[in-house]
C-alpha cells in the first residue's frame, strides 16, 4: 500500500509541476459579473444557453484565447435524453461551441459514470454532440486518471483522488442536470462534482451531505450551468421511464455553485435550506443561498 501511495503521489506531483498550480486558484467567484445568477425559461436548451451567456457578457468573460476548458456534464447512466437521467446533449453541444468560439485551445468533456462508460457516452447522445461541436470526449473510467489531493477546509472529507483534467484545465464548466435523488434528495451542481473523483463509496459512508459540501471548498467550477429542460421528479437519479419527468424548459447559470443549487431546488419545489448540503455549503461560506439578496436576471422566451 505504501509503495503504491508513493507512486501515485509522485505522479500527482509530476502532474502539478507540469500543469502548474496557479490554475486552481485564479478562477471562480472573484470575477466581476453583471448578475449573480441568470435564469431562463421557455426555450430549447441551446437557445436558452445563448440568452444566458449573452447576458453575462458572452463566453469570452470566462474563457480566454488559448485556454483549455473541461466541461463536466452528468452522464452517469446508460439512458436516453428523453428520460433526463443525463444532461441534455443539445446543451452540452452548445456550451462546447461557445468555448471554442471564444478561442479555447481544447474543450474536454468527461464523467466518471456509474453504468458502463461507453454505453453512457453513446446512449446519452453526449459523445456525438461533443464530437459534432469540435470538443473532445475523454474516458474517466480508470483510477490512473485520478491523483490524490488534500481538502484542507473539509470537515469529513480530508482527501480525494481528483481527475487530472480538473487539475490541469484553465476553465472548469459544471453542467449538471436537475433531478430527484433518493440519497441527498436532489442532485444539481454540487452533487455533480462526485463524478470528478474516484472513491465515491467513502462519501456515502461518511455523511454524504457533509462530504458534498466539503468538496466544494476545494475547487469551485468557473461556471455552473444547470439543465432543467426536462426534470426527473421521482425514481431518481436513474429513473425508470420518461413518465418520471416533467418538461420545465428552464436553465440556470451562475458562477456561484451554492446560489445555482438553491435556485434549482426552489424551481424543483424544495426549500434550499431543507437540502442539507446546500445549507452546509452556505454555512461554510462557499457561496450564497439567500436568493432574495442576489442580483438575478430572469429571462422568459
Amino acid at each position: 500500500m505504501k509503495r503504491r501511495d508513493f507512486i501515485t503521489r509522485s505522479i500527482a506531483a509530476g502532474a502539478f509541476t507540469a500543469f502548474g498550480t496557479g490554475n486552481l486558484l485564479a478562477q471562480g467567484s472573484r470575477m466581476n459579473l453583471p448578475y449573480d445568477l441568470v435564469a431562463v425559461m421557455g426555450g430549447e436548451p441551446d437557445a436558452m444557453f445563448d440568452k444566458a451567456i449573452q447576458s453575462l457578457g458572452g463566453m469570452e468573460t470566462f474563457v480566454k484565447k488559448g485556454q483549455t476548458v473541461v466541461v463536466k456534464p452528468n452522464i452517469g447512466w446508460d439512458s436516453t435524453p428523453e428520460k433526463a437521467a443525463d444532461t441534455n446533449p443539445l446543451l452540452v453541444k452548445q456550451i462546447v461551441k461557445h468555448c471554442l468560439a471564444a478561442g479555447a485551445k481544447k474543450v474536454y468533456v468527461f464523467d466518471y459514470t456509474c453504468d458502463d462508460w461507453k454505453k453512457c457516452y453513446t446512449n446519452s447522445g453526449i459523445e456525438k454532440a461533443v464530437k459534432e461541436a469540435g470538443g473532445e470526449i475523454v474516458p474517466a473510467n480508470s483510477e490512473r486518471y485520478y491523483h490524490p489531493v488534500k481538502i484542507p477546509n473539509g470537515k469529513n472529507l480530508k482527501d480525494v483522488k481528483e481527475h487530472e483534467l480538473i487539475l490541469s484545465s484553465d476553465v472548469f464548466i459544471n453542467v449538471p442536470v436537475l433531478k430527484h435523488h433518493s440519497g441527498p434528495q436532489l442532485t444539481i451542481a454540487m452533487k455533480n462534482l462526485m463524478g470528478t473523483i474516484w472513491d465515491r463509496s467513502y462519501w456515502h459512508a461518511h455523511n454524504l451531505h457533509q462530504c458534498i459540501a466539503d468538496f466544494v471548498t476545494y475547487r469551485k467550477p468557473t461556471l455552473n450551468v444547470v439543465d432543467a429542460y426536462r426534470v426527473m421528479k421521482k425514481n431518481g437519479p436513474r429513473g425508470i421511464s420518461v413518465n418520471d419527468t416533467v418538461l420545465m424548459k428552464s436553465l440556470l447559470v451562475s458562477a456561484d455553485i451554492v446560489a445555482v443549487d438553491a435556485a434549482a431546488a426552489k424551481l424543483y419545489g424544495i426549500e434550499p435550506s431543507k437540502v442539507n448540503y446546500i445549507r452546509y455549503a452556505a454555512e461554510m461560506g462557499v457561496g450564497r443561498m439567500d436568493l432574495d439578496a442576489l442580483n438575478i436576471n430572469r429571462i422568459k422566451i
Binding site: A39, M41, D78, K106, C114, D115, D116, K118, K119, N123, E136, V138, P139, N141, S142, E143, R144, Y145, H181, S182, G183, P184, D199, S201, Y202, H204, A205, H206, N207, L208, H209, V231, K233, K234, N235, P237, R238, I240, S241, N243, D244, T245, V246, L247, M248, K249, S250, A263, K266, L267, G269, N276, L291, D292, I296, R298
Partner: protein, 528 residues
C-alpha cells in the same frame, strides 16, 4: 502429383483462424464482429456438440461437419480450426527455428492406453450428466481460458500504459480498460495447461493432441477409416527420414514405412519434405493394394482411477485455498464494520442461462462471455457452482454489476448454455433476488444518508422509505427485482454488504416496474 500446396493452404488457413480467435478473446473494445465470432465458434467440436444436444438445431451441426471432414480427409480440423492445436504448431515452428539440429522429431510410439482411457472416461462422465472433464480437456475452451485469464490482462495493461502515456500528451486515441481482479485460483488451471501444452509441443510436437485431448483421440479413431490417407510408397521410399523429422505427430515409422494415420493431424509437412515424392495423400477406400489394418480396442485400466483421485485432490486443494482469497476483501467503507454475513445459498448464473442446472450442464467454461461482458461482471467461478462447475462463469457483484440494457453474453455463447434474449426479455429475467440486512446498513449503523443501492437500481426494487428524522432506509420488493446486482455492487458496508443478491436456481420472470405519469405541472413563473 506434388502436394506442396496443401501445406501452404493449411498454414494460411490456420494462421487466419488463430488470429481471429486471438482477437476475439482479447478484444476489450467490444468491436469484434459478432458474425465472425459466431462462425469460428460454430465449428468448434465440443461447443458445437453441446449446442446440438441443447437445441437440436442448425446452430449445433458444426461438429457433424467436423466428423464428415475427418472421415473424408483425416484430422484436418486439428491443424486448421482448433486454436490450441495451431498454437502448438507455432511453438513447434519456433523450436525448429531455434534449434541447430536438423532432425527435430522422430517416430514415437502411441500412448494408446492413456488416450483411449481419457476419451472413454470423458464420455462416461458426460453420460453420467456432468461435463467437467470435457470442459477441462476441450481444446477450444482451454485456449479460451488461457487467452482470457492470462493474455488479456497483460494486453490490457499494455493498452492502459499506452493510453496513459498518450493521454498525458492530450491524445485520447486509446481508452483504458478496468479489468477487475479475478480470484487467483482461477488462474492455476489455465497456467498449468499452458505450461503442459507448451512443454509437450516444444519437445514432442502434437503429443498433447494424441495423448490427452479427447477430441483428438476421437477424430483420430474416425480417421482410421478416412477416405484420403497419407501413405508411404514402399517401393520408391529410400528411408531418408525427412518426412519423419518434419512430422509433429511423430507418427511416421520409417523403419516399417508405415504412417499411423490416427495420430496424423493433417499438417501435410511430410508431403513437402519428401524429396522422392514417396509420401502420398491417397484415396484409401479404393486403393490398388488393400492393406489390412488392425483396429486397436482399448480397455480402461487403473490410470482411470488414478486420474479421478488426482482430479479430486486438485479440486479439493483449490477449495481450501479459495477461502483464504475470499477473506481478503478490502474494506473500503463504513466507519463501523458490518457484522452479519450475507446468506448466499446459490451463485447467480448469467441471464439467458435458464437455470443453474441448464447452465452448468452446457457451459464448457471457454470464457468467451467473460471476455465479451462490457461490465466485467462475469468471472470464472472457483467453487460457486460446486467443484464440478470449476471455471464456469458466475455473476460477481463485488467486481461489477449487470447492465440493464445489455444482452452481450446471451449473444456470444458458443454452446448456447446462455441462450439469446432480447433487451425487453432481459429486463424482466430474474436471475436472483435482492436481500436486505438492515443491521449492516450504514443508515442504521452510522445514522447517515446513503441510498447508493437505490440510486443504482434500474427497476426501483430497492426503495427508500422514511426512517429516523429526515433519514431514509432501503426497502426491497423482490417481485420487480431482476437480480442485476447493482445494489450489492454499490453498497459501501464492509466487510459484509447490507444488500445482496442470492441466485435463483431456476430463472424467473419478474414483474415490470410500475410506471405512473407525473401529474405535476411545470412552474410558469420563476419561484425566486
Amino acid at each position: 502429383m506434388h502436394f506442396r500446396w496443401l501445406k501452404y493452404s493449411r498454414v494460411f488457413v490456420s494462421l487466419v483462424f488463430l488470429l481471429l480467435f486471438f482477437l476475439m478473446l482479447v478484444d476489450f473494445t467490444g468491436h469484434f464482429p459478432r458474425n465472425i465470432m459466431k462462425g469460428i465458434t460454430w465449428i468448434q467440436f465440443i461447443p458445437s456438440f453441446l449446442t446440438f444436444k441443447n437445441l437440436l438445431s442448425f446452430a449445433g451441426i458444426g461438429f457433424l461437419v467436423v466428423i464428415l471432414l475427418s472421415l473424408l480427409y483425416g484430422r484436418v480440423y486439428c491443424s486448421t480450426v482448433c486454436p490450441l492445436g495451431i498454437y502448438q504448431d507455432v511453438v513447434s515452428w519456433l523450436r525448429r527455428k531455434l534449434s541447430r539440429r536438423k532432425r527435430i522429431f522422430r517416430f514415437g510410439k502411441p500412448y494408446n492406453v492413456m488416450r483411449y482411457s481419457i476419451l472413454i472416461l470423458s464420455i462416461l462422465v458426460f453420460l453420467a450428466g456432468n461435463i467437467l472433464l470435457l470442459n477441462l480437456l476441450d481444446p477450444y475452451s482451454n485456449f479460451g481460458r488461457i487467452v482470457v485469464s492470462l493474455v488479456k490482462p497483460a494486453a490490457a495493461e499494455i493498452n492502459n500504459f499506452l493510453a496513459k502515456a498518450l493521454a498525458s500528451r492530450s491524445i485520447f486515441w486509446l481508452n483504458p480498460v478496468e479489468l477487475r481482479a479475478v480470484n487467483p485460483f482461477t488462474l492455476i488451471y489455465p497456467s498449468a495447461i499452458l505450461i503442459l501444452v507448451t512443454w509437450m509441443s516444444f519437445f514432442h510436437g502434437r503429443l498433447y493432441c494424441n495423448t490427452i485431448c479427447p477430441v483428438g483421440t476421437f477424430l483420430g479413431f474416425l480417421s482410421r477409416y478416412s477416405l484420403f490417407k497419407i501413405r508411404i510408397d514402399k517401393v520408391t521410399c529410400d528411408r531418408c527420414g525427412k518426412c519423419s523429422s518434419s512430422c509433429k505427430s511423430q507418427c511416421i515409422n520409417i523403419k516399417e514405412k508405415e504412417v499411423d494415420f490416427s495420430r496424423c493431424v493433417g499438417c501435410f509437412n511430410c508431403l513437402s519434405a519428401c524429396p522422392s515424392l514417396s509420401i502420398q495423400y491417397r484415396n484409401s477406400w479404393f486403393p490398388k493394394q488393400k492393406e489390412k489394418q488392425d483396429v486397436e480396442m482399448v480397455k480402461t485400466d487403473s490410470s482411470k482411477r488414478e486420474f479421478v483421485i488426482k482430479s479430486v485432490a486438485f479440486v479439493a486443494g483449490i477449495t481450501g485455498l479459495s477461502k483464504i482469497a475470499s477473506a481478503q476483501e478490502k474494506s473500503a467503507g463504513s466507519r463501523k464494520p458490518s457484522v452479519l454475513t450475507e446468506l448466499k445459498t446459490h451463485p447467480v448464473s448469467p441471464p439467458g442461462s435458464l437455470s443453474i442446472e441448464h447452465f452448468t450442464e452446457h457451459c464448457t467454461a471457454c470464457q468467451l462471455c467473460v471476455s465479451a461482458c462490457p461490465s466485467h461482471v462475469l468471472k470464472p467461478s472457483v467453487t460457486e457452482y460446486g467443484i464440478l462447475g470449476f471455471m464456469q462463469p458466475h455473476m460477481d457483484y463485488h467486481a461489477s454489476y449487470c447492465n440493464y440494457e445489455c444482452t452481450v453474453c446471451t449473444e456470444v455463447c458458443p454452446t448456447k448454455a446462455i441462450q439469446p434474449l432480447t433487451v425487453e426479455q432481459k429486463k424482466v429475467t430474474q436471475i436472483g433476488k435482492v436481500h436486505f440486512i438492515r443491521e449492516n446498513c450504514i443508515v442504521y449503523t452510522d445514522n447517515t444518508a446513503c441510498a447508493a443501492c437505490n440510486e443504482h437500481c434500474p427497476t426501483q426494487a430497492v426503495k427508500m422509505v422514511p426512517y429516523k428524522g429526515d433519514l431514509n432506509i432501503p426497502q426491497v420488493d423482490t417481485s420487480i427485482c431482476i437480480g442485476c446486482g447493482a445494489c450489492e455492487h454499490a453498497c459501501p458496508a464492509r466487510p459484509y454488504r447490507a444488500i445482496y443478491v442470492d441466485g435463483n436456481t431456476v430463472h424467473q420472470v419478474a414483474e415490470k416496474p410500475k410506471e405512473e405519469k407525473m401529474q405535476e405541472k411545470a412552474p410558469e413563473e420563476f419561484p425566486f
